[in-house]
Protein backbone atom coordinates (compact mmCIF):
# COMPACT_ATOMS: atom_id res chain seq x y z
CA UNK A 1 0.00 0.00 0.00
CA UNK A 2 1.38 3.39 -0.94
CA UNK A 3 0.18 6.73 0.31
CA UNK A 4 1.66 8.95 -2.30
CA UNK A 5 0.06 12.37 -2.38
CA UNK A 6 -1.16 14.51 -3.96
CA UNK A 7 -4.32 12.74 -4.86
CA UNK A 8 -4.82 14.36 -8.19
CA UNK A 9 -1.47 14.17 -9.90
CA UNK A 10 -0.69 12.22 -13.01
CA UNK A 11 2.55 10.32 -13.29
CA UNK A 12 4.35 12.48 -15.86
CA UNK A 13 5.95 9.56 -17.65
CA UNK A 14 2.68 7.69 -18.00
CA UNK A 15 1.06 10.85 -19.29
CA UNK A 16 3.76 11.30 -21.94
CA UNK A 17 3.55 7.71 -23.05
CA UNK A 18 -0.17 8.03 -23.28
CA UNK A 19 -0.01 11.11 -25.45
CA UNK A 20 2.47 9.44 -27.76
CA UNK A 21 0.37 6.35 -28.23
CA UNK A 22 -3.09 7.82 -28.41
CA UNK A 23 -2.92 11.38 -29.52
CA UNK A 24 -0.74 11.78 -32.61
CA UNK A 25 -3.84 12.39 -34.73
CA UNK A 26 -4.53 15.55 -32.76
CA UNK A 27 -1.23 17.03 -33.86
CA UNK A 28 2.14 17.26 -32.17
CA UNK A 29 1.64 18.19 -28.55
CA UNK A 30 5.21 19.39 -28.38
CA UNK A 31 4.05 22.51 -30.22
CA UNK A 32 1.69 23.51 -27.43
CA UNK A 33 3.23 26.62 -25.89
CA UNK A 34 4.24 26.09 -22.29
CA UNK A 35 2.38 29.29 -21.44
CA UNK A 36 -0.97 27.60 -21.99
CA UNK A 37 -0.19 25.34 -19.07
CA UNK A 38 0.10 28.16 -16.61
CA UNK A 39 -2.28 30.88 -17.81
CA UNK A 40 -5.40 29.18 -16.57
CA UNK A 41 -8.64 30.77 -15.56
CA UNK A 42 -9.31 31.07 -11.85
CA UNK A 43 -12.91 32.14 -12.28
CA UNK A 44 -14.53 28.93 -13.48
CA UNK A 45 -16.92 27.64 -10.82
CA UNK A 46 -19.39 24.83 -10.22
CA UNK A 47 -22.82 25.54 -8.77
CA UNK A 48 -24.96 22.68 -7.48
CA UNK A 49 -28.52 23.37 -6.32
CA UNK A 50 -28.79 19.99 -4.54
CA UNK A 51 -26.17 20.56 -1.83
CA UNK A 52 -23.66 23.21 -0.96
CA UNK A 53 -19.92 22.96 -1.49
CA UNK A 54 -18.58 21.02 1.48
CA UNK A 55 -22.08 19.88 2.41
CA UNK A 56 -23.66 16.46 2.64
CA UNK A 57 -24.67 14.72 -0.61
CA UNK A 58 -28.40 13.87 -0.43
CA UNK A 59 -29.24 10.17 -0.38
CA UNK A 60 -30.81 10.14 -3.85
CA UNK A 61 -27.44 10.84 -5.51
CA UNK A 62 -25.69 8.04 -3.61
CA UNK A 63 -25.58 4.42 -4.60
CA UNK A 64 -27.97 3.76 -1.73
CA UNK A 65 -30.51 6.05 -3.38
CA UNK A 66 -31.33 6.58 -7.03
CA UNK A 67 -27.65 6.64 -8.00
CA UNK A 68 -28.18 9.60 -10.34
CA UNK A 69 -25.88 12.58 -10.70
CA UNK A 70 -26.95 15.99 -9.36
CA UNK A 71 -27.58 19.03 -11.51
CA UNK A 72 -24.41 21.06 -11.96
CA UNK A 73 -24.05 24.49 -13.53
CA UNK A 74 -20.66 25.57 -14.88
CA UNK A 75 -20.18 29.29 -14.33
CA UNK A 76 -17.74 31.90 -15.62
CA UNK A 77 -15.93 29.65 -18.10
CA UNK A 78 -12.99 30.98 -20.11
CA UNK A 79 -14.29 32.36 -23.43
CA UNK A 80 -12.35 29.82 -25.52
CA UNK A 81 -14.00 26.88 -23.78
CA UNK A 82 -15.12 24.25 -26.33
CA UNK A 83 -15.96 21.38 -24.00
CA UNK A 84 -15.79 20.19 -20.40
CA UNK A 85 -14.48 17.07 -18.76
CA UNK A 86 -15.86 16.07 -15.38
CA UNK A 87 -14.58 13.58 -12.83
CA UNK A 88 -16.21 12.49 -9.59
CA UNK A 89 -13.60 11.21 -7.21
CA UNK A 90 -13.51 9.78 -3.70
CA UNK A 91 -10.84 12.03 -2.15
CA UNK A 92 -10.24 9.76 0.84
CA UNK A 93 -9.44 6.92 -1.50
CA UNK A 94 -7.49 9.13 -3.95
CA UNK A 95 -5.17 10.11 -1.10
CA UNK A 96 -3.80 6.58 -1.24
CA UNK A 97 -2.54 7.32 -4.74
CA UNK A 98 -5.03 5.19 -6.64
CA UNK A 99 -6.20 7.66 -9.30
CA UNK A 100 -8.34 5.16 -11.17
CA UNK A 101 -9.58 3.22 -8.16
CA UNK A 102 -11.03 6.41 -6.70
CA UNK A 103 -12.87 7.61 -9.83
CA UNK A 104 -16.64 7.21 -9.51
CA UNK A 105 -17.46 8.93 -12.76
CA UNK A 106 -15.45 10.01 -15.80
CA UNK A 107 -17.07 12.22 -18.48
CA UNK A 108 -15.72 14.25 -21.39
CA UNK A 109 -16.98 16.19 -24.43
CA UNK A 110 -19.70 17.95 -22.45
CA UNK A 111 -20.45 20.77 -24.95
CA UNK A 112 -19.55 24.24 -23.76
CA UNK A 113 -22.94 25.58 -24.82
CA UNK A 114 -24.70 23.18 -22.43
CA UNK A 115 -23.32 25.27 -19.56
CA UNK A 116 -23.64 22.34 -17.19
CA UNK A 117 -25.58 19.11 -16.76
CA UNK A 118 -29.16 18.44 -15.72
CA UNK A 119 -29.94 15.97 -12.93
CA UNK A 120 -29.49 12.39 -14.09
CA UNK A 121 -29.01 13.39 -17.75
CA UNK A 122 -25.97 14.29 -19.85
CA UNK A 123 -26.19 16.60 -22.88
CA UNK A 124 -25.80 15.15 -26.38
CA UNK A 125 -22.17 14.59 -27.26
CA UNK A 126 -20.98 13.81 -23.77
CA UNK A 127 -19.02 10.57 -23.41
CA UNK A 128 -18.80 8.50 -20.21
CA UNK A 129 -15.55 6.60 -19.62
CA UNK A 130 -14.73 3.76 -17.24
CA UNK A 131 -15.16 4.29 -13.51
CA UNK A 132 -13.42 2.44 -10.69
CA UNK A 133 -15.96 -0.37 -10.97
CA UNK A 134 -15.00 -0.83 -14.63
CA UNK A 135 -18.38 0.46 -15.81
CA UNK A 136 -19.20 3.31 -18.16
CA UNK A 137 -21.58 4.85 -15.67
CA UNK A 138 -22.06 7.17 -12.73
CA UNK A 139 -21.32 5.57 -9.37
CA UNK A 140 -22.75 7.64 -6.56
CA UNK A 141 -21.04 8.13 -3.21
CA UNK A 142 -21.01 4.86 -1.29
CA UNK A 143 -18.79 5.20 1.83
CA UNK A 144 -17.92 2.29 4.10
CA UNK A 145 -20.12 1.73 7.17
CA UNK A 146 -19.33 3.91 10.16
CA UNK A 147 -19.73 7.43 11.48
CA UNK A 148 -16.99 8.88 9.34
CA UNK A 149 -17.76 11.02 6.30
CA UNK A 150 -15.95 10.38 3.08
CA UNK A 151 -15.26 13.29 0.76
CA UNK A 152 -16.30 13.29 -2.90
CA UNK A 153 -14.95 15.87 -5.33
CA UNK A 154 -16.45 16.94 -8.62
CA UNK A 155 -13.44 18.05 -10.69
CA UNK A 156 -14.31 20.20 -13.68
CA UNK A 157 -11.94 20.93 -16.57
CA UNK A 158 -12.73 23.60 -19.20
CA UNK A 159 -11.03 22.52 -22.43
CA UNK A 160 -10.17 24.28 -25.68
CA UNK A 161 -11.29 21.40 -27.93
CA UNK A 162 -13.26 18.16 -27.96
CA UNK A 163 -11.60 14.76 -27.90
CA UNK A 164 -11.88 11.60 -29.96
CA UNK A 165 -11.10 9.09 -27.23
CA UNK A 166 -12.25 5.51 -26.66
CA UNK A 167 -14.91 4.84 -24.02
CA UNK A 168 -12.56 2.33 -22.41
CA UNK A 169 -10.55 5.28 -21.06
CA UNK A 170 -9.99 5.47 -17.33
CA UNK A 171 -9.57 8.56 -15.20
CA UNK A 172 -5.76 8.77 -15.28
CA UNK A 173 -5.73 8.26 -19.04
CA UNK A 174 -8.30 10.99 -19.56
CA UNK A 175 -6.30 13.41 -17.43
CA UNK A 176 -3.18 12.63 -19.43
CA UNK A 177 -5.07 13.19 -22.68
CA UNK A 178 -6.53 16.58 -21.75
CA UNK A 179 -3.58 17.95 -19.80
CA UNK A 180 -2.30 20.34 -22.48
CA UNK A 181 -5.76 21.65 -23.34
CA UNK A 182 -7.00 22.76 -19.93
CA UNK A 183 -8.15 26.40 -19.82
CA UNK A 184 -9.54 26.36 -16.30
CA UNK A 185 -10.51 24.08 -13.45
CA UNK A 186 -13.01 24.04 -10.62
CA UNK A 187 -13.67 21.79 -7.67
CA UNK A 188 -16.82 21.11 -5.63
CA UNK A 189 -16.81 18.77 -2.65
CA UNK A 190 -19.64 16.78 -1.10
CA UNK A 191 -19.51 14.55 1.95
CA UNK A 192 -21.33 11.26 2.41
CA UNK A 193 -21.64 8.57 5.05
CA UNK A 194 -24.00 5.68 5.53
CA UNK A 195 -26.68 7.33 7.59
CA UNK A 196 -29.36 5.21 9.29
CA UNK A 197 -31.72 6.27 6.47
CA UNK A 198 -29.23 5.07 3.85
CA UNK A 199 -28.84 1.74 5.61
CA UNK A 200 -32.60 1.26 6.03
CA UNK A 201 -33.20 1.84 2.35
CA UNK A 202 -30.32 -0.42 1.40
CA UNK A 203 -31.65 -3.23 3.60
CA UNK A 204 -35.20 -2.83 2.27
CA UNK A 205 -34.06 -3.15 -1.31
CA UNK A 206 -31.53 -5.92 -0.96
Amino acid sequence: MTFRSPALQIAPRAADQFRETLLPSRGPLATVPAATLTARSRTLAIRCPAFEDGGVVPLEYSCFGDNIHPELAFENPPVETASYALILRDIDSALEGHADASAHWVVWNIPAEAGGIAEGVLPAGAVVGRNAAGRNAYLGPSAAPGPRFRHYAFELYALDCTFALPRTLRCSELLAAIHANVLGTALYVGRFRRSPAALRRFELES
Binding site: M1, T2, F3, R4, S5, P6, A7, L8, Q9, I10, P12, L37, T38, R40, R42, T43, L44, A45, D53, G54, G55, V56, N76, I91, D92, L95, E96, A144, G146, P147, R148, F149, R150, H151, A153, E155, Y157, H179, V182, T185, A186, L187, V189, G190, R191
Partner: protein, 180 residues
Amino acid sequence: MPLLIESTAFEDGGIVPAPYSCFGENRRPGFTFSDAPPATVSYALILHDIDVALDGGTEDGLHWVVWNVPAEAGGIAEDALPPGSVVGRNVENENAYLGPGAPAGPRFHHYVLEVFALDRTIALAATASRAELLAAIEGFVVDKAAYVGRFKRDPGMTQRAPRDSTTVARGLGESLRNGP
Protein backbone atom coordinates in the same frame (compact mmCIF):
# COMPACT_ATOMS: atom_id res chain seq x y z
CA MET B 1 -14.84 2.06 14.61
CA PRO B 2 -12.66 3.97 12.19
CA LEU B 3 -10.41 6.86 13.09
CA LEU B 4 -12.47 10.02 13.48
CA ILE B 5 -11.23 13.62 13.16
CA GLU B 6 -13.09 16.44 14.86
CA SER B 7 -12.36 20.13 15.21
CA THR B 8 -13.78 23.00 17.18
CA ALA B 9 -12.34 25.50 14.67
CA PHE B 10 -14.60 24.65 11.74
CA GLU B 11 -16.80 21.77 10.69
CA ASP B 12 -15.84 19.17 8.13
CA GLY B 13 -16.60 20.68 4.71
CA GLY B 14 -17.09 24.10 6.28
CA ILE B 15 -15.33 27.38 5.84
CA VAL B 16 -12.00 27.92 7.58
CA PRO B 17 -12.41 31.08 9.70
CA ALA B 18 -10.11 33.98 8.83
CA PRO B 19 -7.90 33.75 11.97
CA TYR B 20 -6.63 30.36 10.75
CA SER B 21 -5.77 31.71 7.29
CA CYS B 22 -2.49 33.28 6.29
CA PHE B 23 -4.43 36.52 5.84
CA GLY B 24 -5.50 36.36 9.47
CA GLU B 25 -3.37 35.35 12.41
CA ASN B 26 -2.12 32.18 10.72
CA ARG B 27 -3.42 30.45 13.86
CA ARG B 28 -3.21 26.67 13.87
CA PRO B 29 -6.59 24.94 14.28
CA GLY B 30 -6.96 22.20 16.88
CA PHE B 31 -8.18 18.70 16.10
CA THR B 32 -9.14 15.69 18.17
CA PHE B 33 -8.51 12.16 16.95
CA SER B 34 -10.68 9.37 18.35
CA ASP B 35 -11.44 5.71 17.74
CA ALA B 36 -7.89 5.08 16.55
CA PRO B 37 -6.85 1.40 16.43
CA PRO B 38 -5.21 0.19 19.68
CA ALA B 39 -1.94 -0.30 17.78
CA THR B 40 -1.65 3.45 17.17
CA VAL B 41 1.59 4.93 18.53
CA SER B 42 1.76 8.23 16.68
CA TYR B 43 0.02 10.36 14.08
CA ALA B 44 1.27 12.08 10.94
CA LEU B 45 -0.65 15.06 9.52
CA ILE B 46 -0.60 16.57 6.05
CA LEU B 47 -2.60 19.67 5.12
CA HIS B 48 -2.75 20.48 1.43
CA ASP B 49 -4.70 22.57 -1.09
CA ILE B 50 -6.11 20.14 -3.64
CA ASP B 51 -7.34 22.85 -6.02
CA VAL B 52 -3.73 23.58 -6.90
CA ALA B 53 -3.25 20.08 -8.27
CA LEU B 54 -6.18 20.60 -10.62
CA ASP B 55 -4.23 23.42 -12.22
CA GLY B 56 -1.78 20.88 -13.52
CA GLY B 57 0.77 20.99 -10.75
CA THR B 58 2.42 17.73 -9.96
CA GLU B 59 2.85 18.83 -6.36
CA ASP B 60 -0.22 20.44 -4.89
CA GLY B 61 -0.01 23.17 -2.27
CA LEU B 62 1.52 21.66 0.83
CA HIS B 63 0.58 23.84 3.82
CA TRP B 64 1.52 21.83 6.87
CA VAL B 65 3.32 18.59 7.65
CA VAL B 66 3.64 17.16 11.14
CA TRP B 67 4.71 13.75 12.36
CA ASN B 68 5.38 11.93 15.64
CA VAL B 69 2.30 13.40 17.31
CA PRO B 70 1.98 11.00 20.25
CA ALA B 71 -1.12 8.79 20.23
CA GLU B 72 -1.83 9.54 23.88
CA ALA B 73 -2.26 13.23 23.04
CA GLY B 74 -5.49 12.28 21.23
CA GLY B 75 -5.06 15.18 18.84
CA ILE B 76 -3.52 18.62 18.73
CA ALA B 77 -4.69 21.63 20.68
CA GLU B 78 -5.25 24.95 18.95
CA ASP B 79 -1.93 26.66 18.28
CA ALA B 80 0.05 24.04 20.18
CA LEU B 81 1.59 20.72 19.27
CA PRO B 82 2.21 18.05 21.92
CA PRO B 83 5.81 17.31 22.91
CA GLY B 84 7.48 14.95 20.48
CA SER B 85 5.81 16.40 17.37
CA VAL B 86 8.05 17.29 14.43
CA VAL B 87 7.04 19.97 11.89
CA GLY B 88 8.28 19.38 8.35
CA ARG B 89 8.74 21.80 5.47
CA ASN B 90 5.76 23.34 3.73
CA VAL B 91 5.42 24.71 0.18
CA GLU B 92 7.28 27.85 1.25
CA ASN B 93 10.13 25.72 2.49
CA GLU B 94 9.47 26.69 6.09
CA ASN B 95 9.03 24.36 9.03
CA ALA B 96 5.73 25.94 9.90
CA TYR B 97 1.99 25.99 9.49
CA LEU B 98 0.85 27.95 6.47
CA GLY B 99 -2.82 28.82 6.81
CA PRO B 100 -5.19 28.69 3.84
CA GLY B 101 -4.57 31.60 1.46
CA ALA B 102 -6.38 30.95 -1.82
CA PRO B 103 -5.56 33.27 -4.72
CA ALA B 104 -7.88 36.23 -5.11
CA GLY B 105 -11.07 35.31 -6.93
CA PRO B 106 -14.61 34.13 -6.42
CA ARG B 107 -13.74 30.53 -5.87
CA PHE B 108 -13.21 28.48 -2.73
CA HIS B 109 -10.10 26.35 -2.47
CA HIS B 110 -10.40 23.02 -0.67
CA TYR B 111 -7.90 22.19 2.04
CA VAL B 112 -7.60 18.55 2.98
CA LEU B 113 -6.16 17.50 6.32
CA GLU B 114 -4.96 13.91 6.09
CA VAL B 115 -4.32 12.13 9.36
CA PHE B 116 -2.41 8.86 9.39
CA ALA B 117 -2.47 6.65 12.50
CA LEU B 118 0.89 4.86 12.69
CA ASP B 119 2.05 1.87 14.72
CA ARG B 120 5.38 3.53 15.55
CA THR B 121 7.16 6.87 15.57
CA ILE B 122 9.20 7.91 12.54
CA ALA B 123 12.91 8.75 12.54
CA LEU B 124 12.99 11.49 9.94
CA ALA B 125 14.86 14.79 9.76
CA ALA B 126 12.72 17.92 9.75
CA THR B 127 14.11 18.71 6.30
CA ALA B 128 12.31 15.68 4.83
CA SER B 129 9.98 16.19 1.89
CA ARG B 130 6.40 15.01 1.81
CA ALA B 131 7.45 12.18 -0.48
CA GLU B 132 10.06 11.10 2.07
CA LEU B 133 7.49 11.21 4.86
CA LEU B 134 5.02 9.14 2.85
CA ALA B 135 7.78 6.65 2.02
CA ALA B 136 8.80 6.50 5.69
CA ILE B 137 5.30 5.68 6.93
CA GLU B 138 4.53 3.12 4.27
CA GLY B 139 3.61 -0.18 5.84
CA PHE B 140 3.06 1.38 9.26
CA VAL B 141 -0.33 3.02 8.62
CA VAL B 142 -3.03 1.38 10.75
CA ASP B 143 -5.80 3.84 9.85
CA LYS B 144 -6.32 7.11 8.03
CA ALA B 145 -8.95 9.84 7.86
CA ALA B 146 -9.53 13.11 6.04
CA TYR B 147 -11.12 16.44 7.03
CA VAL B 148 -11.88 19.22 4.56
CA GLY B 149 -12.02 22.98 5.03
CA ARG B 150 -12.83 25.58 2.40
CA PHE B 151 -11.37 29.05 2.11
CA LYS B 152 -11.60 31.93 -0.32
CA ARG B 153 -9.95 35.27 -0.07
CA ASP B 154 -12.30 38.14 0.67
CA PRO B 155 -11.62 41.41 -1.17
CA GLY B 156 -10.37 42.98 2.06
CA MET B 157 -7.71 40.32 2.54
CA THR B 158 -4.69 41.95 0.99
CA GLN B 159 -2.08 41.65 3.70
CA ARG B 160 -0.63 38.33 4.69
CA ALA B 161 0.08 37.62 8.30
CA PRO B 162 3.65 38.72 8.96
CA ARG B 163 6.03 35.87 8.21
CA ASP B 164 7.70 36.77 11.37
CA SER B 165 10.16 34.72 13.17
CA THR B 166 7.59 33.53 15.68
CA THR B 167 5.70 31.20 13.36
CA VAL B 168 8.79 29.79 11.76
CA ALA B 169 10.87 29.64 14.90
CA ARG B 170 8.04 27.91 16.72
CA GLY B 171 7.93 25.15 14.10
CA LEU B 172 11.68 24.93 13.87
CA GLY B 173 11.99 24.91 17.63
CA GLU B 174 9.53 22.06 17.87
CA SER B 175 11.37 20.15 15.19
CA LEU B 176 14.81 20.75 16.65
CA ARG B 177 13.68 19.76 20.11
CA ASN B 178 11.93 16.65 18.89
CA GLY B 179 13.67 15.56 15.70
CA PRO B 180 16.00 12.57 15.56
